[in-house]
Amino acid sequence: MGNRIIYLDHAATTYVKPEVFEAMKPYFCEHFGNASSIYSLGRESKKAIEEAREKVAKALGAEPREIYFTSSGSEADNWALKGVAAANKKKGNHIITSAIEHPAIMNTCKYLQGEGFEVTYLPVDSDGMVSLEDLKNAVKDTTILISIMFANNEIGTIQPIQEIGAFAREKGILFHTDAVQAIGNVAIDVQKMNIDLLSLSGHKFYGPKGIGALYIRKGVKISSFIHGGAQERGKRASTENLPGIVGLGKAIELATENMEAYNKKLLELRERTIEGLMSRIPYIRLNGHRTNRLPGNVNMSFEFIEGESLLLMLDMIGVCGSSGSACSSGSLDPSHVLMAIGLPHEIAHGSLRLTFGEENTQEDVDFILEEIPKIVSRLRDMSPLYEAVKNKK
């Protein structure tokens, strides 16, 4: 393998594609004008921003005027929740979300609870799916927002967004979805899916870090929280991250153009990995829905061993992955997502997430199918929990 790393953590972040980087470059040193300036250098920047905005709109089936650039997916999530809550608090104070959202949603909801809002966290089944029945039962007269993530970052499960959107529309309740992991992997049409607000983040689909967007359907009442200049239709101040925006536009254009072929390739790698690991390693389970999951997402738990050790050993052979174990997250509890799907603590601690991307190959899969069983075996030989099971035989 030499010194090449096998990067299998695309859900955490992706490299910037060369075409995206090329598109961004002129906007640092040459075409650097402030888009709010009157002279032509400024107007050119404005034009570049509006072109990028059109690309984002096209990718979502929205109008350009409904796209607002933010610093990140986290900011988009914060704005959607806090902004809708603040603007609609006379109508009600109840928000419905799920138990498996990204921390940018979870912690914002917790914050809003401290500010007098009531939040229902819908449970999920053992595959990580939200139930429409539970949603229907949770709705009250005071419900002002439903926020359910499109696809989960850890276990890959894709939610029934179209049904949720249809229901929310029928009830006249605003529907937000954190689509950060879904862009480029699932076709999104905000009209068809009755989505009112949507968060996305550039660095998950081969764009730069530090740029995201919030889609806000025309007519949705939302308060601002970055006050200042009149940028982004007066709703989100700050001089625009020009290169970032251009990069985001290019990246989302590439992502949607090539989605089918990309997904097909990822699916092959995913399936070979899941089947390969399951056939080579005993006491193993797949986390998340078997088929209704992101095409590049593999999340397995290996009993009797712990995730951080697994990652360290993978790192030693040049493989980058992630885990839902407590040790690897720095907290005492394993991932809330794995807990929500009902995994016992010790199984959650032994989880490994591998997420494929553009540059991965079948050879990468060959390598990990060869090496992961060895690593698991080695860690099991060190584990008092495996010893207990071995001795029972």
């Binding site: 009797f304 061993i305 712990e306 995730g307 951080e308 050790s309 360290l312 050993m313 030693m316 174990s325 407590a326 040790c327 690897s328 720095g330 907290s331 005492l332 509890d333 394993p334 016992p344 603590h345 010790e346 601690h349 030989d381 060190m382 584990s383 008092p384 929990l385 010893e387």
Partner: protein, 153 residues
């Protein structure tokens, strides 16, 4: 994150295994917090002639187990009792603050195994040194109070 010594003890752990005729065995930690250490001791004439371990846990957990067994081999029981989590952490050139509790576990595993030896030889009351992290009354969760803070995260 981890020192070279920690990575060495993690990738080449010393003394992994079981001792069939061990006369002191201690297991501490729990699956809930993701760290379990089991220590086997062979004690003859008051000296720890052999020590082995099995650990379910992170890089720091494996490294501290490995270092702990190295530190106590050849020591008398009294000398082994003096080994603290600080000794283990220092021998590894330090641990990140969030991982110091793993060194606590190593200290406790030694104590548990020695406790077991004493119990088998009729020398100790039936105290348990198992930690389930419920409180700090036994001081076993000292240094990691933050990890039990509900408000965090």
């Amino acid at each position: 994150m981890y020192s070279q010594k920690v990575m060495d003890h993690f990738s080449n752990p010393r003394n992994v295994g079981e001792i069939e005729d061990a006369n002191g065995v201690g297991q501490v930690g729990n699956a809930k917090c993701g760290d379990i250490m089991k220590m086997y001791l062979k004690i003859e004439d008051n000296v720890i002639v052999d020590a082995k371990f099995k650990t379910f846990g992170c890089g720091a957990a494996v490294a501290t187990s490995s270092m702990a067994t190295e530190l106590i081999k050849g020591k008398t029981i009294d000398e082994a009792m003096k080994i603290t989590n600080q000794t283990v952490a220092e021998a590894l050139d330090g641990l990140p603050p969030a991982k110091m509790h793993c060194s606590n576990l190593a200290e406790e595993a030694i104590a548990a195994a020695l406790e077991d030896y004493r119990r088998r030889n009729g020398l100790a009351a039936n105290e348990s040194v198992d930690c389930n992290g419920c409180c700090s009354s036994c001081h076993h969760s000292e240094g990691r109070e933050d990890n039990f803070d509900e408000d965090e995260d």
